[in-house]
Amino acid sequence: MSASNVVAPSSTNQSGKPPVRAGIKKNRRQQSRWALYLIIPTLILLAVVIGYPVVTAIVMSFQKDAGLDPATGLFVQGGFAGFQNYAHWLFQQCMGTDGTTIACPPGNLGSTFWNAVFVTFFFTVTTVILETVLGLWFALIMNRAFRGRGFVRAAILVPWAIPTAVTAKLWFFIFSVAGIANAILGAHILWTSDEWASRFAVIIADTWKTTPFMALLILAGLQLIPEDVYEAAKMDGASTLQRFWRVTMPLLKPALMVAILFRVLDALRIYDLPAILTGGGGGTGHATTTLSILVIDQIRQGFNSAAALSTITFIIIFLVAFIFVRILGTNVVRTQEAQQKGAKE
């Protein structure tokens, strides 16, 4: 049972024997040449739409933002900034009136960086845990045979199909002061403006929207576990709980890890929900400001500083992915490659 199977559930039929090559038997070198011709256009296009902006952003992040020179009062074009833009975000260093670096005054976007890091990671950890637990429950139910299972599987696709922007507006209505959430709870919670309430509003809406996706990925993993493993466990007298912890979970682990990795990387770049549901701020004005929102807030105040922040965000996401793959052994690429070769791990 390899993690790759999650990503392509029914590929197991190919494993074992090498796939029969069609047409003229090509040798590896010929195939490599063909593959090159077929893949190069995609790689070039990706280099244009992703590679170029990323490299440009890194170059920009080392330039000073154009603005008034504090010493002379004249408008000056940027120039080389070194790591100044990075220091602005990481250490809250701003340019003082005499041209030296000082601590950023309150209200400056730079001073909200670590808050945005906290908010982003708080959202990521809570939503991924909630979505994993609920998604596992959904998947376990959907994996059972019962009448109406098709209906449940259709219903589960509804939250997934609703655009996030619409989801945000829908929950904005549900969480309005006179809305249905407060009516049911009999409370007067300021869901979109109180500091912690607005954070939980985002978490609840995100969990609602994304749990189905998680459930589908986990279900695909569950369906790969052969029935006879359970039969054998039953024969040996394992209880339901034992079967879950000793059979289901170990066999599901690779699938679960890939699903969690995808969700974590997706959650770290969350923008739409907090931006619309709580107006990007919520409560103190920064209660739900994630790193992505902070970048957008900064763009109109200075490109180069925004480029530094987006590069920091990119590096954070890259590091999390790297640590995840190293520690948990979720080698997505290698299992993908093994699967592409039709080989069993």
């Binding site: 047409g23 990706l46 589908l216 995808f262």
Partner: protein, 304 residues
């Protein structure tokens, strides 16, 4: 909310009932297990459908009764849909729908044209650096959109592309193309390619084998991938909200910035109507192609 639960619970109960009846001869433990599964299934269905149901109910409710908590359709009116499409208040929902369609079709077509060849190579050919290519595509699909926006914002401003369609289409290829390659290559891997050779042996030319065997087999995979790419484009918000103008903004941006007749007063019912308009075609599409979409989603492993 119990009244809302009523009809849905009844259907699910009806679903669960025959099972408990067939199990009548079985032990009572198994019957209880069936009931428990049924109850949990009902909870899941309600969790997924109730917020959506509330959006639809509100969209048909007279604006004067916006915060009415009656769980079924009351004060029924089509006015909100008229308001949603009205351009008097500075909203352009009709134009936005058209924009989303234009952008979505362009992004999907470009991604497919490029992605089909790459997917074929990844699924069918054996070559060096395959792992690296897969890694690049996987990494690209996980790429934060926010890392692209700053340089694009500056670039498009300086060349006068702000608010144009191409300024919205090009960045979206960054996530639609990896999604396409990823999903399509895992579909392609599972196709019975042996049939191509069999057709050749039976006397088909290479072109005939491609047209009569491969194309009909690949069509559903390509179609499903197209739907997923289109949905991902249709739902995009971050990049469009920054680079679009009033004339080119897609529906997600239009709905997020929907304005009512009164300042500082959210036009909830009209927004719910707009949300329903944007969502219902997607839900119909998803329900019709449910099986294939689930296969594509889990194959791609990337959120669409």
């Amino acid at each position: 909310m119990t009244a809302v639960a009523g009809p849905a619970a009844a259907t699910a109960e009806a679903n669960a009932l025959p099972r408990t009846q067939t199990k009548r001869k079985g032990s009572s433990r198994r019957r209880n297990a069936g009931v428990r599964t049924g109850v949990q299934a009902v909870v899941i269905v309600l969790w997924c459908l109730l917020p959506f149901y509330w959006m639809v109910v509100t969209s048909f409710r007279d604006v004067g009764y916006t915060f009415d908590t009656t769980p079924w359709f009351t004060h029924f009116t089509w006015d909100n849909y008229a308001t949603a499409f009205s351009t008097n208040l500075g909203n352009h929902l009709g134009q936005a729908l058209l924009n989303s369609l234009i952008i979505g079709v362009c992004v999907t077509v470009v991604s497919l044209v490029f992605g089909i060849f790459a997917s074929y190579a990844l699924a069918r050919l054996d070559f060096r650096f395959k792992g690296i290519v897969l890694g690049i595509i996987l990494a690209a699909s996980m790429f934060p959109g926010v890392a692209l926006i700053t340089p694009l914002f500056q670039l498009f401003t300086s060349i006068g592309w702000m608010g144009t369609y191409q300024a919205l289409i090009i960045p979206q290829i960054s996530f639609a193309l990896p999604l396409t390659v990823y999903t399509l290559s895992s579909f392609f891997r599972e196709m019975p390619w042996d049939l191509e050779e069999a057709a050749r042996i039976d006397g088909c030319t290479q072109a005939q084998a491609f047209r009569k065997i491969i194309l009909p087999l690949a069509a559903p995979a390509v179609f499903t991938t197209a739907i997923l790419a289109f949905i991902s484009s249709w739902n995009e918000f971050l990049i469009s909200s920054q680079l679009s103008s009033d004339a080119t903004q897609p529906v997600t941006v239009a709905i997020a910035s929907f304005t009512g007749s009164q300042p500082h007063q959210e036009p909830y019912t009209a927004v719910m109507a707009a949300g329903t308009i944007v969502t219902v075609p997607l839900i119909i599409l998803v329900l019709i192609f449910q099986r294939r979409i689930v296969a594509g989603l889990t194959a791609g492993g990337v959120k669409g």
